[in-house]
C-alpha cells in the first residue's frame, strides 16, 4: 500500500516534470528572445543610419569646359576684389553647359539644362580666378559640383530598382547618360561636408557650422560644470556637516538629475534670455543651460570618485600635519581625478547629444556662417540633424544620416576615451 502510493507519487512527479522542463525551456527562450530583440534594434538602427548616410561622404562632380569670358563675368581686372566678388561666375558655367549641350533651346529646356549643376558651383570658379588671375579670358576644363537631384540620380544608378528619377526628366536623364558615357561625371570625396556651414542646397550643405557651435557650447559647459561639480562634490563629501541644509542640497541634486531636459530649456528661456537678456541663439546660453543639466551627473560621479579614496590616505595626511584643505588638494583630488574626469567626459557626451533645451533657447535657426566665438549665433550638431530631418529634399536624408554618423562617431570616441581612462588610471586599494 505504502509502496504503491510512493510509486504513484513518483509517477505524478515524473509526468509533471516534463511540463515543468518545457516551461523552463520556454522561459529561457523568452529571455534569449528579449536579448536578441535588443541586439537586433542596435544593429538595425546602426545599419539603417549607415546605409542611408554613407553616400553623403561622396559628392557628384561634372567635368565642364568653362571660359573665363570677360563679358559674361563682367570682370576685366581679376585683382580687383570688389569686381571679382560681384562677377557672374554662374553665368560662365551656364555658357559652358550650353556649349556642351547645344541642342537645348527654349526657356524651359535651358532651365532644365542649367539645373544640372549646383547653384554654388560658381564659387569654385571664382576662387580659382582669385588664386590665378592669368586665367581671365582662358578656357579651362574643371569639375563642378552637380545639383542634388543629379547627385541622387547618379548615386542610385547601381540600385536594384533602377536609378531614382523622381525629379529628373527624361531629357535630363539623356544628358546625364551622355555625360556618363563620356566619363565626364564622377563621385569624389565630399570635403564640403566637413568644411562648409548649412545651406538650403543639399549638395552645398556641411556640418562645420553646427560642429563649431557644439564645440563652443561644450567649451562653456565643461569650463563651468567641471569646476563647479567637483567643488560641490568635495564640499558634500569632505566638509559638509550632516544637517538639514546639506540634506536639502543633496535632494536638490538628485531631483535635478531626474528633471526632463526640456525643462532646462524653459529655465534658460525664462531666466537667461528673458531676465538677464543674454542674446538668443548663441553658444553662451546653450552652454549655461547644458551646464545646469550636466552638473548633477558630474557631481554624482565626482562624489563616487571621492568616496573611493580610502580614509587611510586622509588619516595619513592629517597625521603628518596637513590641514583639511591640504588633505583635499594634495591627496584626495589627485587620487580621485581619473574617476572625476571619466564622469565629466560621460556628462559631456550626454550634453553633446542633447537637443530639446537648445530648441527652447533659439539655437535652432538657419545659420550659414560658421560661428567663430561664444557670441555668434549658431546651432549644434543634434539640432542640425533635427533641422535637416525636417527638410523636404530627398538629398537631405543622406546628409542627415551622415551628420548622425559624425555625431555618433564623436560620442563613441568620447565614451571609449572615458573607458580607457578609467581602465588605465583606475587604482585598486
Amino acid at each position: 500500500m505504502i509502496n504503491l502510493t510512493a510509486a504513484s507519487r513518483e509517477q505524478r512527479i515524473r509526468l509533471g516534470l516534463k511540463k515543468r522542463h518545457r516551461a523552463e525551456r520556454q522561459f529561457k527562450f523568452y529571455g534569449a528572445l528579449a536579448i536578441v530583440f535588443g541586439l537586433a534594434c542596435v544593429f538595425l538602427l546602426f545599419g539603417d543610419i549607415v546605409s542611408k548616410g554613407h553616400k553623403a561622404f561622396q559628392l557628384t562632380y561634372i567635368n565642364l569646359e568653362v571660359t573665363y569670358d570677360q563679358d559674361i563675368l563682367g570682370v576685366n581686372d581679376p585683382t580687383d576684389a570688389r569686381q571679382v566678388s560681384l562677377g557672374n561666375f554662374h553665368g560662365a558655367i551656364k555658357a559652358g553647359l550650353k556649349n556642351r549641350f547645344p541642342e537645348a533651346t527654349g526657356r524651359k529646356n535651358k532651365r532644365e539644362l542649367y539645373s544640372l549643376v549646383s547653384n554654388g558651383a560658381g564659387y569654385n570658379l571664382r576662387d580659382r580666378l582669385i588664386e590665378n588671375p592669368v586665367l581671365l579670358g582662358k578656357t579651362i576644363k574643371i569639375w563642378v559640383i552637380a545639383d542634388d537631384d543629379v547627385d541622387t540620380y547618379y548615386k542610385s544608378i547601381g540600385e536594384s530598382d533602377g536609378p531614382f528619377t523622381g525629379r529628373t526628366s527624361e531629357q535630363k536623364e539623356g544628358w546625364l547618360k551622355e555625360l556618363i558615357k563620356a566619363g565626364d561625371i564622377e563621385k569624389r570625396f565630399n570635403f564640403n561636408f566637413f568644411t562648409e556651414g548649412d545651406s538650403r542646397e543639399p549638395e552645398l550643405a556641411g556640418i562645420r557650422g553646427a560642429a563649431m557651435g557644439s564645440f563652443y557650447t561644450l567649451i562653456i559647459t565643461i569650463l563651468l560644470a567641471f569646476p563647479l561639480g567637483v567643488a560641490a562634490a568635495v564640499y558634500l563629501e569632505e566638509f559638509a556637516p550632516r544637517n538639514r541644509w546639506t540634506g536639502f542640497i543633496e535632494v536638490n541634486i538628485n531631483n535635478l538629475a531626474a528633471v526632463p531636459s526640456i525643462i532646462f530649456g524653459l529655465l534658460g528661456l525664462a531666466v537667461f534670455i528673458n531676465f538677464f537678456h543674454v542674446p538668443r541663439s548663441v553658444p553662451l546660453v546653450g552652454g549655461l543651460v547644458l551646464t545646469l543639466m550636466t552638473l548633477p551627473t558630474i557631481i554624482i560621479s565626482s562624489r563616487a570618485a571621492i568616496k573611493s579614496v580610502p580614509p587611510s590616505i586622509r588619516e595619513a595626511a592629517i597625521g603628518v600635519g596637513a590641514s583639511p584643505m591640504q588633505v583635499v588638494l594634495h591627496h584626495v583630488l589627485p587620487l580621485a581625478m581619473p574617476g572625476m574626469l571619466t564622469g565629466a567626459i560621460i556628462g559631456m557626451a550626454r550634453a553633446l547629444g542633447e537637443t530639446a533645451p537648445l530648441l527652447m533657447i533659439g539655437m535652432v535657426a538657419f545659420i550659414v556662417d560658421i560661428p567663430s566665438g561664444f557670441h555668434d549665433p549658431s546651432t549644434a550638431l543634434p539640432v542640425q540633424i533635427f533641422l535637416w530631418a525636417d527638410s523636404p529634399e530627398r538629398a537631405f536624408v543622406e546628409k542627415t544620416s551622415a551628420a548622425i554618423m559624425v555625431l555618433l562617431a564623436f560620442l563613441i570616441v568620447m565614451n571609449t576615451f572615458a573607458v580607457v581612462l578609467r581602465k588605465r588610471l583606475e587604482r585598486r586599494w
Binding site: 522542463h21 529561457k28 535588443g38 541586439l39 561639480g229 531631483n255 526632463p260 525643462i263 529655465l267 530631418a389
Partner: protein, 462 residues
C-alpha cells in the same frame, strides 16, 4: 576699458600681490629664524592677500555689470523730451535699440530724429564715462583692499585659517548652485504659469478637452479661438508612454533576467555593453529613425493588411521610445535582481524548483519593489522625452487611444509653442510654461515615489 581686459588686469594684480605678500612673509620670518616661526606657510599669506585683492573688486564688477544697462538706458531716456518717452515695454526696447544703432553708426544720424541723435550722443558719453568710472573704482578697491591686507600681515597672523575659510565658502557656493538651479526652474515655470492661470482658469486647463492654442489676432478671425484644454495632450502623452512601456518592460525585464541568471559570461560580456549603447544614442537619432524608417514601414505594413496608419502615428513614436528605454529598465532590473541574496536562490533550488520557477516565484517577488521603482523611473523618462515625439508624433491634439492615429504630447506642444518668436504676454507662450509645470511636477512625483519604493526594499536584505 573692456570688461575682459579689466578682469585680466585684476588677475595680474592679484598675482603680483600674492608674490609680494609671500616674499614679505618670508622676509618677516628671517629675523625670527626661518619660516617655521610664522603661524602659517608663506603660501597662505600670499593667498590671503590675493583673495583680499581680487574678491571685493570682482564682486563690485559683477554687481555693476548686472545693472549698468538698466541705469544707462534710464538716464538716456530721461534725456529725451517728455513727449518721446516710451509708454510700453516693447516701445521702450525699440527706442533703446534705435538709439544704440545710431550710436554705433548702423543707422545714419542724418536721417534720424535729432532728439534721438542727441540721445545717442548722451549714450556714447555715458558709456565712455561708465567705463572709466568702473575701471577707476574697481582698481582702487583692489589696491585699497590689498593695502589693508598688507598692513595686517605679521608673523602671528592666522593666514591659513582665513584662506581655508574662504576655500570652504567657495565650495559651499558651488554646492548651492544646484539649489539655485532648482529654484530657478521652479520660479521661472511657476511665475509664468501663474500669469497664464490669470488669463485662463486652471479648471479649463486641467479639465478642458479642446486644445487649440492659436490666438486670434483680429476679432473676426475664424478658427483661432485659443482654447487651452490640456486633457488631449495628457491622453496623447499617456498613450505614447504606454506603448513605450509595453515594449520596454517585457524586453528590458526578460533581458535583465536572462543576463543575470542564464547567460554565459561571454554572452553577458558582449550583450550587456551592446544593449547599453541604446541608452547612449541621442534622442534626436531615435526621432530620425522613427520618422524616416519606422513610420513608412508601419504605413506600408498597415496598407498591406488594410489598416490606415497615420503618417505621424502614436505607434511609431511609442515603439521607438520603447526601444530607447529598454536598457534603462534592464540595467535597473539587473541591479535589483543581483541584489537578491544567493541564499534565497539556493533554498528554492534545493527544494527542487527549476530555475524558471525560482525566478518566477522567489526572485521576482523579492525584487518586485525595486522593479516597480525602476519602471516608474522609466515612465518618467518616457513622459519627459522630447525629440522622438517632436519628430515622429503629430501636432493635432486628438482625444483618442487608437495607436494608429496622430496624437500630440505635452513636450511636443511646449516645443511648438516656444520655438520661434515668443511674446511673454500672450497665453499662447505662457501655456508652454504651464505645461512645463505639469511635466515638472509629474516627473518629480514619479521619481520621488520610485526612489522611496526602491529604498524601502533595499533595507530588507542589507
Amino acid at each position: 576699458m573692456g570688461l575682459t581686459s579689466l578682469v585680466l588686469i585684476l588677475l595680474v594684480l592679484a598675482f603680483v600681490v600674492y608674490s609680494t605678500a609671500r616674499s614679505r612673509a618670508i622676509s618677516l620670518a628671517k629675523p625670527l629664524g626661518g619660516i617655521s616661526h610664522l603661524h602659517s606657510l608663506p603660501f597662505f599669506y600670499g593667498m590671503r592677500s590675493a583673495i583680499w585683492c581680487a574678491v571685493p573688486a570682482l564682486g563690485l564688477l559683477i554687481i555693476w555689470s548686472l545693472f549698468d544697462d538698466h541705469i544707462i538706458s534710464t538716464l538716456v531716456l530721461n534725456s529725451l523730451p517728455e513727449s518721446m518717452r516710451p509708454a510700453s515695454a516693447t516701445e521702450h526696447s525699440l527706442l533703446i535699440n534705435s538709439i544704440e544703432n545710431i550710436a554705433s553708426g548702423a543707422l545714419s544720424s542724418v536721417a534720424s530724429d535729432p532728439h534721438l541723435v542727441s540721445a545717442a550722443k548722451v549714450l556714447d558719453d555715458l558709456n565712455a564715462m561708465a567705463a572709466n568710472l568702473v575701471t577707476i573704482v574697481v582698481l582702487s578697491t583692489a589696491i585699497f583692499c590689498s593695502a589693508l591686507a598688507w598692513i595686517k600681515l605679521s608673523p602671528q597672523l592666522r593666514a591659513r585659517q582665513a584662506v581655508e575659510k574662504a576655500f570652504k565658502i567657495a565650495l559651499l557656493a558651488a554646492a548651492c548652485v544646484a539649489i539655485f538651479a532648482t529654484l530657478g526652474i521652479v520660479l521661472s515655470v511657476l511665475f509664468e504659469s501663474i500669469r497664464f492661470f490669470q488669463m485662463v482658469p486652471a479648471s479649463e486647463f486641467l479639465l478642458g478637452t479642446e486644445w487649440s492654442p492659436q490666438m486670434a489676432i483680429r476679432a473676426d478671425q475664424i478658427g483661432s479661438s485659443g482654447s487651452f484644454g490640456a486633457i488631449p495632450l495628457f491622453v496623447g502623452t499617456l498613450l505614447i508612454s504606454f506603448i513605450a512601456m509595453v515594449i520596454a518592460v517585457p524586453a528590458g525585464l526578460m533581458s535583465a533576467i536572462y543576463l543575470a541568471e542564464y547567460a554565459e559570461p561571454a554572452v553577458r560580456n558582449f550583450a550587456k555593453p551592446v544593449l547599453e549603447i541604446l541608452a547612449g544614442i541621442p534622442t534626436v537619432v531615435y526621432g530620425f529613425f522613427a520618422a524616416l524608417t519606422v513610420t513608412p514601414f508601419l504605413r506600408q505594413a498597415g496598407a498591406n493588411i488594410g489598416l490606415d496608419v497615420s503618417s505621424e502615428s502614436a505607434l511609431s513614436a511609442g515603439l521607438v521610445m520603447g526601444v530607447m528605454i529598454i536598457p534603462f529598465v534592464s540595467s535597473l532590473a539587473d541591479d535589483v535582481i543581483t541584489a537578491v541574496p544567493q541564499s534565497l536562490r539556493d533554498g528554492s533550488l534545493g527544494l527542487g524548483a527549476t530555475k524558471s520557477e525560482t525566478i518566477k516565484k522567489v526572485i521576482f517577488p523579492a525584487a518586485l519593489p525595486g522593479i516597480v521603482g525602476g519602471v516608474m523611473l522609466a515612465v518618467s523618462r518616457a513622459v519627459g522625452d522630447t525629440m522622438i515625439v517632436v519628430m515622429a508624433a503629430g501636432l493635432a491634439a486628438k482625444m483618442t487611444i487608437n495607436p494608429l492615429e496622430t496624437v500630440t504630447t505635452v513636450t511636443v506642444q511646449i516645443v511648438t509653442l516656444l520655438v520661434g518668436d515668443q511674446e511673454f504676454d500672450s497665453p499662447k507662450t505662457l501655456a508652454a510654461f504651464a505645461l512645463g509645470l505639469m511635466l515638472f511636477v509629474v516627473t518629480l512625483a514619479l521619481n520621488f515615489f520610485a526612489l522611496r519604493v526602491v529604498n524601502k526594499y533595499r533595507e530588507q536584505y542589507d
